[in-house]
């Protein structure tokens, strides 16, 4: 009986903390519905709420272009990470060689390299290759950032698929590539979804490299774009917050639909031990 009462108190406490943790998000939502005239006339609830901010964003060609830029970046990063992550992960899972462990550790350590350092070291090369102000630069750098995790994750996933399945396929006359594409990939969908979501999220959140390699009014990503909105002389908070919600929507929708893969992808690597 006492235990039940205690968990009830815990639950109420949990709800309370959840509500408090939603504070910044509540600010975002509340301000997105305020017109320029009423923006600071109340704290919590907007006075005479309006959707004019959302409408003006949908009509604003530049802000929509940023959405397109970020969408292209995130999509290409996702596709590249999945393609290279699965093949490399499969190779590392099925073919063992000397020094493999060292290679895996080296690969994983690269993820810890500070982005400001990578950007410094790559800047001149990017210019020389003519990739400055070219989305390809961001695609390549971001994929290099997400790939170690994708490889690590897929290797772990393939390790869990018995080798006898590939062997059976090869006895039936499949080449190893065919066995890989026709048999192994289809049964690995959950792992692929997990690394796909992760890569998309990383591409969508890209900020630092974008401030360096994508300069020009129509070259912004959604992240650099929304920060630019803050740089105006008079900040239109209603517009900024509405844009914040619009550019967060794709990720939030992904999260709601694919929450299971999201969490398993995130925790899969570390919890095994």
């Amino acid at each position: 009986m006492i235990k039940k009462k205690k968990t009830k108190i815990n639950f109420i406490f949990l709800i309370l903390i959840t509500i408090i943790s939603m504070f910044p998000i509540a600010v975002m939502v509340s301000f997105s519905f305020r017109s320029r005239a009423t923006v600071f006339s109340s704290i919590f609830f907007p006075v005479s709420p309006t959707i004019e901010n959302y409408m003006s964003i949908f009509k604003n060609k530049l802000l929509m272009k940023y959405l397109f830029n970020s969408f292209s970046l995130a999509t290409f990063v996702t596709l590249l990470s999945i393609t290279l992550g699965t093949t490399t992960g499969y190779g590392l899972s099925r073919y063992k060689f000397k020094g493999q462990k060292a290679l895996l550790i080296l690969l994983f350590s690269t993820q810890m390299a500070p982005p400001v350092f990578i950007a410094t070291g790559l800047f001149k090369l990017i210019i020389r290759l003519g990739l400055y102000n070219n989305l390809l630069s961001l695609i390549l750098i971001n994929t290099a950032g997400t790939l170690p995790f994708a490889i690590w994750m897929m290797k772990g996933y393939f390790d869990g698929i018995p080798k006898s399945i590939d062997e059976a396929a090869m006895i039936d006359g499949c080449s190893c590539w065919k066995a890989y594409l026709k048999i192994i990939i289809p049964v690995s969908t959950p792992g692929i979804l997990a690394i796909g979501i992760y890569s998309f999220l990383m591409g969508w959140s890209e900020y630092l490299y974008a401030t360096i390699f994508m300069v020009g009014n129509d070259k912004n990503m959604v992240t650099t774009g929304i920060v630019h909105l803050l740089g105006r002389f008079i900040i239109q908070w209603g517009l900024v917050m509405a844009y914040a919600i619009i550019i967060s929507a794709p990720i939030l929708i992904l999260f709601v639909v694919l929450q299971r893969y999201f969490v398993s992808g995130l925790t899969g690597g570390a919890v095994k031990g």
Binding site: L14, L84, I105, M112, A113, T211, T267, A270
Partner: protein
Amino acid sequence: MFTLLLKKRRKKISSGYLFIVPGVAFVLFLTIYPLVNAIKMSFFNLSSGNNIFVGFLNYQKAFQDQTMWLSMAHSFYFTIFSVSLHFLFGLGLALLLNSVKEYKGSSICRGLLFLPWLFSSAVWCVTWQLILHPQFSILNEIFNVFGLKGLNWISADSLLPLTSLSIVNGWKFFPFHMIMYFAVLQSIPKELYEAASIDGASGNQKFFYITLPSLYHTIAIVLTIDTIGTFHYFDLIWILTQGGPMNRTEVLSTYIYRKVFTLGNFGYGSAMSVILIVILIAFITLYIKILLKGEFEG
């Protein structure tokens, strides 16, 4: 027969390389190349347009640079404060979620608590800019309602701005810890607790002898990844304060960024990045040790 076997084996290995090489080469090129290049640049004076070899001059300059030391101290303060917040809230909430998992609403709470992690740094910081703004801070408005005096959260000439930034960072990244620890807690077999209860263990004993030991490995991994990530974290500070006011929130990554990308001082910036890397390598070595330990035990 033997040659056939050898041929087959060779074929197997070469197709293995075909699988492995593209991805590995991709990552290594885009990380090793900048590493080597930055180390090379750190020995040159590149700000004047022509490359002049200057030996260790950039490093000497860095060690005499007051702002560099200040930034480094700030990086440590920001990291220790933020990571402590992530850990305490992450672990606390994971335990809380685990204790009420039979309630239907608890998974909704878990989903909502996870939200801050999903927002991009840009969106998160823009929102906090509104909450902590020097002229019209929402937080100060709320303080006023309760009759409290507002503060200059990100514009005071004290340690307050850096503290505010640590809290904003703590608020964004605690869900990562929470979700990791929660996953472990769920994987602990119930029988362990039941057996302990039969043996007469108290709640505290169960926590210290069952719950905490199962978490150790994950805590170690998550803390190391988080420490490294937070130590070179850039977006949040750059968007909220750009290192200001008067270097009060300058950390190593923002200082390097300013030197390299606003002042064009590649040589000096590279030298400082090398110093940053050396600090991080210490953390990374620790991380690798933990990972290897887990693999041998697991």
